[in-house]
């Protein structure tokens, strides 16, 4: 394969970015569905979410392979190379978010039909916020829109607030009655997975900044908290 003219090369880059958008749509659906199966105790759909992960993995490797072939054949420089390296990075982040959804589906299957300990409102809310953040972050990447990426990071507080509140409620249930421990531990995992999925969205936003400006930034606010300490 030979080096393509500029216009054709740009089309190749756009095509890789669109592949990322398609993978992101699969992962967003997986996150929402995994939590819905938990709330509805729908074990059959949980199995389909669990199995979808293999498709997400294959798609991720396909994107990685295709993008690296473009790098090898088109020999991009500076900003184009950053775009392509970010495509590979985002594919990895999306695959890991898919793993978190798979984990939630697995928990649904492990809890089975035993009555749920409590109203789980915060969990679907966390999933919704994460999916919206993800969609917007990937769009910011496609548009190379750094200000949009930086705005998305602020939404992470909404996840953290719900995570901390849910964590406390589940701990109280564990302390109140030993019988609650197993299920509460599972639900802590669900909360943890959603919190980490949102962290991964933050990583994607960091990558948008890197793609547009070449700067390495860290949006993890725990740095600020350490300074306060």
């Amino acid at each position: 394969m030979t080096r393509e003219p500029r216009e054709a090369f740009e089309k190749m880059i756009t095509s890789h970015m669109e592949e990322i958008q398609a993978l992101s749509a699969m992962v967003e659906e997986s996150i929402i569905k995994s939590v819905k199966t938990l709330v509805d105790q729908d074990l059959e759909t949980a199995k389909t979410v669990y199995d979808l992960d293999q498709v997400i993995n294959e798609k991720r490797y396909e994107i990685e392979q295709n993008t690296l072939v473009t790098v090898a054949t088109q020999q991009p420089m500076a900003s184009d190379l950053r775009k392509l390296s970010s495509v590979i990075d985002l594919a990895g982040e999306l695959e890991r978010i898919g793993d978190y959804a798979k984990g939630i589906a697995r928990i649904t299957m492990r809890i089975g039909k035993q009555p749920l300990l409590k109203n789980l409102d915060k969990i679907p809310e966390m999933a919704e916020i994460t999916a919206v953040m993800l969609k917007r972050a990937v769009q910011a990447f496609i548009d190379l829109d750094e200000p949009a990426a930086m705005e998305i990071v602020d939404q992470d507080d909404q996840i953290d607030d719900r995570y901390n509140a849910l964590y406390q409620e589940l701990l109280d249930l564990m302390i109140a009655d030993r019988k609650n421990i197993d299920q509460a531990t599972f639900l802590l995992w669900v909360a943890h997975n959603l919190e980490r999925a949102a962290d991964r969205v933050t990583n994607i936003c960091e990558r948008v900044v890197f793609t547009t400006s070449g700067k390495l930034v860290e949006f993890d606010r725990s740095d600020d908290e350490l300074e306060a300490f």
Partner: protein
């Protein structure tokens, strides 16, 4: 100055991966030691390391992609090796992120009253670090047998995680006034398991690198 061959450049990348792996190992050690010794000030060291690690990660990624662009691999296996270096580079950096999360939790833990007795975290962290060394070594040497051995021997670490989790839960029941503080150690478990899952991902990459086949033996955090 002699011009480096392509093979030398690939070897340099592998050497850089070893340097990054060693930096992250220090980061994990600091975060665990700070937790065990109840020293929040040591958590600061973890944060210092984090910035250096991010720089090193970006440097390796840039070097690797430049090599692919300027001296394109001819064989599929060569491209797989460079793709795998990119991926392992990121897995190692993510292990550093998890160590940072542990450091952050340690600050919360140290701001609360101490709990009675020591929580036995070192038996897990020691094994995780041992598996980490083996996984990195297996990747560099393209040693599929060691990689497969690590992924197939989950039982030992799962037993340790179960004991650790059981210990925390018992203490929560026995020491209700400090139950919240003890519960922070459950969050620590989540991050330790996350580190372990990154180690398994590194082994899976060794599998992909040497066979060209996609790994199906992924490690789920909820396995435990």
């Amino acid at each position: 100055m002699a011009i480096e061959t392509r093979d030398q450049k690939v070897q340099n990348l592998k050497d850089e991966i070893l340097v990054l792996a060693s930096m992250v190992e220090q980061m994990v050690r600091y975060s665990i030691d700070a937790l065990i010794n109840r020293r929040p000030e040591d958590s600061e060291k973890v944060y210092t390391y984090d910035q250096e690690i991010n720089q090193k990660h970006a440097q390796i990624e840039g070097q690797c992609l430049s090599l692919i662009a300027t001296e394109p691999p001819i064989l599929a296996a060569d491209l797989r090796l460079l793709a795998s270096i990119l991926e392992v580079n990121t897995e190692i950096e993510r292990i550093g992120d998890a160590a940072k999360k542990i450091a952050k939790l340690n600050i919360t833990i140290c701001n609360q009253p101490p709990i009675d007795g020591q929580i036995r975290i070192s038996s897990i962290s020691d094994q995780i670090l041992e598996n980490y060394f083996q996984a990195i070594g297996a990747f560099i040497a393209e040693d599929i047998e060691t990689a497969k051995k690590i992924t197939s021997e989950n039982n030992e670490i799962e037993e340790k995680f179960e004991l650790y989790k059981g210990d925390i839960i018992e203490r929560m029941k026995d020491q209700t006034p400090t139950a919240n503080n003890i519960a922070e150690y459950l969050r620590i478990t989540h991050y330790l398991i996350e580190i372990y899952s990154h180690i398994i991902n590194i082994c899976n990459r060794t599998f992909y690198l040497t066979t060209g086949k996609l790994p199906i033996n992924k490690y789920l955090l909820q396995q435990i």
